[in-house]
């Protein structure tokens, strides 16, 4: 699973994502995101990476471990 930046233009990607679901209600948005999820999963195509992404998505609901800020 790649966790370092790999999207060439993150802001443009995020904007495109928002634009695509503009005007959709909650149910239609969920449908859109589910379709997108499967399309993206097929681009990846590596079973172990997919499973790792599922686990990471689930774990990310928890607060991330706090970083040690040394003064």
């Amino acid at each position: 699973m790649i966790t370092t930046p790999n999207i060439p233009d993150p802001d443009a990607f995020y904007a495109a994502l928002l634009e695509a679901q503009d005007g959709l209600d909650a149910a239609a948005t969920a449908d859109f995101q589910a379709r997108l999820l499967f399309l993206l999963a097929n681009q990846c195509g590596a079973q172990d990476v997919l499973l790792e992404c599922i686990a990471a998505a689930r774990d990310s609901a928890e607060p991330a471990p706090t970083k040690n800020h040394t003064p």
Binding site: A34, F38, N42
Partner: protein, 548 residues
Amino acid sequence: MPTYAFAPEYELPQWPFRPPPELNSDTIARHPVVIVGAGPAGLTLACDLALRGVPAILLDEDDTVGVRGASSRGICYAQKSLEIFERLGIYERIAAKGITWSVGKTFSGEQEVYGFNLQTESASRQPPFINLQQFYIEWFLVDRILELGVVDLRWKNKVARIESREDGVRVHVDTPAGSYAIDADHLVDATGAHSAIRTQLELPGHASRSTDRWCITDVRFRKPLPVERWTWVDAPFNDGRAVWQHLMADGVWRIDYQMPEDCDNDTISKPEVAGERLREQLGPDVDFEFVWIGPYGYRDFLLDHFRHQRVLFIGDAAHVVSPFGARGGNTGIQDAANLGWKLALVTRGAAQTALLDTYCAERRHAAVENLAVTSRSARFLAPRSAAEHTLRRAVVALAARYPFARALVNTGRMSVANAYPPSAALPDGARTVQNLPLQWQGGNATTLMQLLAEDTQGLALWFAPEAAAVAPMRQQLADLPVRLIAVGGDTELPTLQPDAALTARLGGQPGSMHLLRPDAYAAASLRTATPATAAAAVRQAFCMTAPQ
């Protein structure tokens, strides 16, 4: 309100109760194998043992096949089962009576989203599937067992209880003419999902019940439809729920409707209610007559151990799965074919009882796999939350446009001959080999199943052996339950013509030897076979003691 016609009931055979000799005897006779339950698994085992010359006794509490012959029982027989039936000698009857199919299609709404043709993967003499009402299979098996005359079929013999010991099983039997007891070296429980034997022994297992509800409608109508397996994830004519459509023998269609979870069984199975569903599906102008209507739910069950002392469990007595993919009856039939030759060798004293433990390990592995596969199908067909519905809607929407998503549409993964994991007897695990049509060097046709139908022995298929190597090999394998056959080459051995499909499936090379078990699983491959390595491979696969 329209009225609906029912077809006359199937005419099923009945076999007479004959008072068994033990009724009037003071001594308790001991038999090598007693099978309880004349369903597909028990009858397959009885027929298999009859061909192997094992005088088993089969006890059944009824005197016919398919008491609920028109009901919710198996209809799809998979290639591996059909190959087993060829070996048992009933395949031609099944093929003549049943409906051969290989194409499946899945629809969402009005749109086809996914289709498959299993024939393209097949090199077997048997087709991927034949549909046939279960009672016909049982009927043909009974006829064949009676024809062979080795196994004692005892109708109206109900097992009251058993006494299980380390060295055998005492079976107490009730009949219309009184009660008796017999002893068995091995007892095989093939009494199905509600096994009283399993209950009596209080054996641990895992069970779960689904809330998914279905209603079967077996029906005859005059509307030409393709002979294919059609499934709808969300049929417009069934309020957006799933529907199955399959043709069986005698022009009877099985149409299986998914129902709301909170439905009332009595209501959904009323002829006028079922008739309305059918009318919706078939259109206003198609005449039909019902054969049977039956609501059902399904459950999962897996016994922790398929053997308890001398009691072995096969079929639904050992494992129950949801019906998606036809993995119930076919698994029971394959359990029986896995166990038959092992019981024959153990009964004959040729193999150690450890061979029976390989039955448990191999078939429990298959059951675990089938449970996982059918549970996934069940969950695709009955999403448990709004979020699961969202995911399924996405898959179905994408599947209509993009091939990749069709692989995610899961309306049942059809029954396969499960592979077996590595074990002491199978160092590399084992896979079945399809029933390839083959030719002897002289030109006569045969098949793998025909080669395996004689006696209880495996096949040692030896690719292009050297003539000088034949005599010592023959001598070394002479006393082992294996038949030595050459594939190509010029030796005095019985020789098959080289065959591309056989070579590809076994990985044959000049001098290599491949051991097929009597159930057509490839147990070992020897790159260069010597008499010592070949004999060792047979002894290992068949759990035989090494010579002292």
